[in-house]
């Protein structure tokens, strides 16, 4: 059984149809890239999977591990193993990163019927994961993402991903706002998490990110549905030719 199966998904935001009969299958262990022009529905797809309220599903189905994902609240989806790495991670003044991480991890464990982690065990895991991403301990004591640079925010997203050990990671334009060094650190962080029982949906506008996180399959999203599917070489083709043909193809 596929880990994620999206069938004929229609989604509208504020009455405007964004996803238009999207079909997508992501297998366990797979890295699937979703590329497409601005406005094609990439971020909508990411938010619908995570369960954001303003997105109205008018038709279709999303199965996660065979279960109806759309029937679950956002926190329940997270506990099942769905993780969205935000394009613009939010700042939460007054909530220390450590508190945030511990609350999230323990809430998920509780929902899965697991014991809460002891403080030393939790600390060790965080410091381990943070060390690999070059995140200073001082940053963990500060408010979540408060005063962080763009690169630091994205590294913090990967830290959360590493700690929460999701089964499906949706990366929403993780490369946006990153310089080449930050892109490398973040990509390496993601690559370390690749595993046979974990899949990735990597949403990006540019092929650049896919040089670092090499996908198994590339889907082109256009006008709210998958217009083409190919191997990793498809990303290079898009980089060379642009998205013009997809925009016209659907428009005609």
């Amino acid at each position: 059984m596929a880990l994620l199966e999206i069938k004929n998904l229609h989604v509208s935001v504020d009455g405007k149809q964004i996803l238009n009969g999207l079909d997508l299958v992501v297998e366990n262990g797979q890295v699937a890239a979703i590329m497409g022009p601005n406005g094609s529905g990439k971020s909508t797809l990411a938010h619908v999977l995570a369960g954001k309220a303003d997105y109205e599903v008018t038709q279709g189905q999303v199965l996660f591990d065979g279960e109806d994902l759309l029937a679950l609240a956002p926190d329940e989806r997270a506990a099942k193993g769905v993780f969205l790495a935000f394009q613009y991670p939010l700042e939460i003044p007054g909530v220390a990163t450590m508190t945030f991480l511990r609350t999230a991890l323990n809430a998920q464990r509780k929902k899965r019927g697991q014991e809460e982690l002891s403080a030393p065990d939790f600390n060790r895991r965080v410091f381990d994961a943070a060390g690999k991403l070059g995140i200073e301990r001082d940053m963990l004591r500060r408010g979540v993402n408060v005063g962080f640079s763009g690169g630091e925010k994205k590294r913090n997203e990967v830290l959360q991903m590493a700690l929460l050990e999701p089964r499906l990671c949706v990366l929403d334009e993780t490369d946006s706002g990153l310089d080449i060094d930050a892109l490398k650190v973040v990509s390496e962080g993601v690559n370390r998490l690749r595993a046979p029982n974990r899949a990735f949906v990597v949403i990006t506008h540019y092929q650049r990110l896919l040089d670092h996180i090499v996908p198994d399959v590339v889907h082109v999203l256009s006008r709210g549905r998958i217009a083409r599917t190919g191997g990793k070489e498809l990303a290079h083709e898009l980089e060379a030719q642009g998205y013009a043909q997809y925009q016209e193809a659907v428009a005609s």
Binding site: P74, L84, G94, K111
Partner: protein, 438 residues
């Protein structure tokens, strides 16, 4: 000219007049001050919404009746007070206990007073001309709630900290209402912190839930030159209580003064603060957090009066309003003509957790000096949906996500408290409030 002609008295006003006539002879000392204060009350009546300072807290409407003056606590009341203030054990303060407005030495921790510290009963001290001279003069006001307090005050404490004395333990004034028959309690305290002294004074006001009682409490606090004083007032009265508090503070030169008001509980709370900066070079933080639910009403009214220049004052008030509650903030910064280089900033933020909750905010600046930095900001709004989604997307259930956000919101004010034990205790109070809410 403020004395409006009001021939018709409310039931509460009539009851107060009768109580004063009948009981003034038994009240301790200060007879002429009491008479003058009562005249002030009779002329003005209970303040109502057409009196600008009471615009959002119409005491005349909120106070349907005046409860009889509380009797001296009996053995049952004292037994109930045994664990009063226990919620603040982590503070390790020196307990000074008032039960139904009466100072109870047997329940207080008066052993081995630190050098330079003196604690006395107001009822006993009120006959002392030296006390009479000071009372009502720290920051003089014609405020009607203060006048009522002066007229009816039964007891309280007189605390003196000598010059240069450094108290190692906080003083913890516990005002406990025992929950007997409906009653009203008038307490008046006077604290004088000498030059260069260090003191922390915590006041916690607690009472039995559901009991119907009225508290009018007042504290006059003098912060000497170069002194370092923290005053924290926690209002956690029972659900039926009406609590009116007046705090008058005169701060000397080159002092440090930190004020914190924590309010959760009581049906109606009015916290009024009159802070006057008499000397240059003082740094002050005046902060507060209010948590309301149901039909609770809490009003914080602050006047920061800069008589001397070159002081820095930061005022931050946060309120979390749920149910049909109403949070009021009135803040006035006055900068007198010679108080140049004053740096005073005030912020009031309200978080509305329900459609029915209401926040009223009235910041005012009255500036008569030309070289100052003053400002105020005020916001009211709901929790940010995008932030909540971020937390939920990480597996944190909606209620817990809200709680985390609320704690963060209030935390910005609580973090200003220097005493770690007290800070943690108040954070626990917030957590308990949140738990009760969900």
């Amino acid at each position: 000219m403020n004395a409006e002609l009001r021939p018709i008295k409310t039931a509460a006003e009539t009851a107060l007049s009768a109580a004063f006539a009948a009981q003034k002879a038994q009240l301790p000392g200060m007879a002429s001050a009491r008479e003058a204060a009562f005249k002030r009350f009779e002329a003005a009546g209970l303040p109502h919404r057409r009196v600008e300072d009471w615009k959002y807290t119409d005491l005349r409407a909120l106070m349907r009746e005046a409860k009889p003056l509380a009797p001296r606590p009996d053995a049952v009341a004292l037994a109930r007070a045994k664990n009063a203030g226990a919620a603040f054990a982590a503070v390790e303060g020196r307990r000074i206990v008032l039960v139904d407005g009466v100072f109870i030495p047997e329940l207080s921790d008066l052993a081995a007073l630190e050098p330079g510290l003196s604690i006395r009963s107001m009822a006993l001290a009120a006959g002392d001309p030296a006390i009479a001279e000071r009372l009502g003069h720290v920051v003089a006001t014609d405020n009607v709630a203060v006048a009522l307090n002066t007229a009816f005050m039964a007891d309280g404490v007189v605390i003196d900290v000598a010059e240069r004395a450094a108290l190692t333990r906080p003083l913890h004034l516990v005002a406990f209402n025992s929950g007997g028959a409906p009653a009203s309690v008038f307490t008046r305290s006077l604290a004088t912190i000498g030059k260069g002294a260090r003191a922390m004074l915590i006041e916690s006001h607690e009472g039995a839930p559901g009991n119907d009682y009225q508290v009018n409490t007042a504290l006059e606090l003098t912060v000497g030159d170069e002194a370092h004083v923290d005053h924290v007032k926690i209002t956690g009265e029972g659900a039926g209580a009406l609590h009116v508090s007046s705090l008058m503070v005169a701060v000397g030169a080159h002092a440090r003064f930190n004020e914190f008001l924590f309010t959760a509980g009581a049906a109606v709370v009015r916290n009024q603060l009159f802070v006057r900066f008499d000397g240059e070079g003082t740094v002050a933080g005046i902060r507060g957090a209010t948590l309301l639910n149901g039909r609770e009403h809490a009003d914080t009214t602050l006047v920061a009066d800069h008589v001397a220049g070159d002081c820095v004052a930061r005022e931050v008030f946060k309120s979390v309003l749920d149910g049909e509650s109403r949070g009021v903030f009135q803040g006035k910064i006055i900068v007198r003509p010679h108080a140049q280089k004053t740096d005073s900033k005030m912020a009031a933020h309200a978080l509305l957790l329900s459609e029915e909750a209401e926040a009223d905010s009235k910041p005012e600046l009255e500036i008569f000096a030309d070289d100052v930095q003053c400002g105020h900001g005020s916001t009211a709004g709901a929790l940010d949906d995008d932030l909540l989604f971020y937390l939920k997307a990480r597996g944190i259930p909606a209620k817990e996500a809200e709680a985390l956000m609320i704690q963060a919101f209030v935390g910005e004010a609580i973090d200003g408290i220097e005493h770690a034990g007290l800070r943690d205790t108040l954070i626990d109070h917030v957590a308990a409030w949140l738990k009760k809410r969900s």
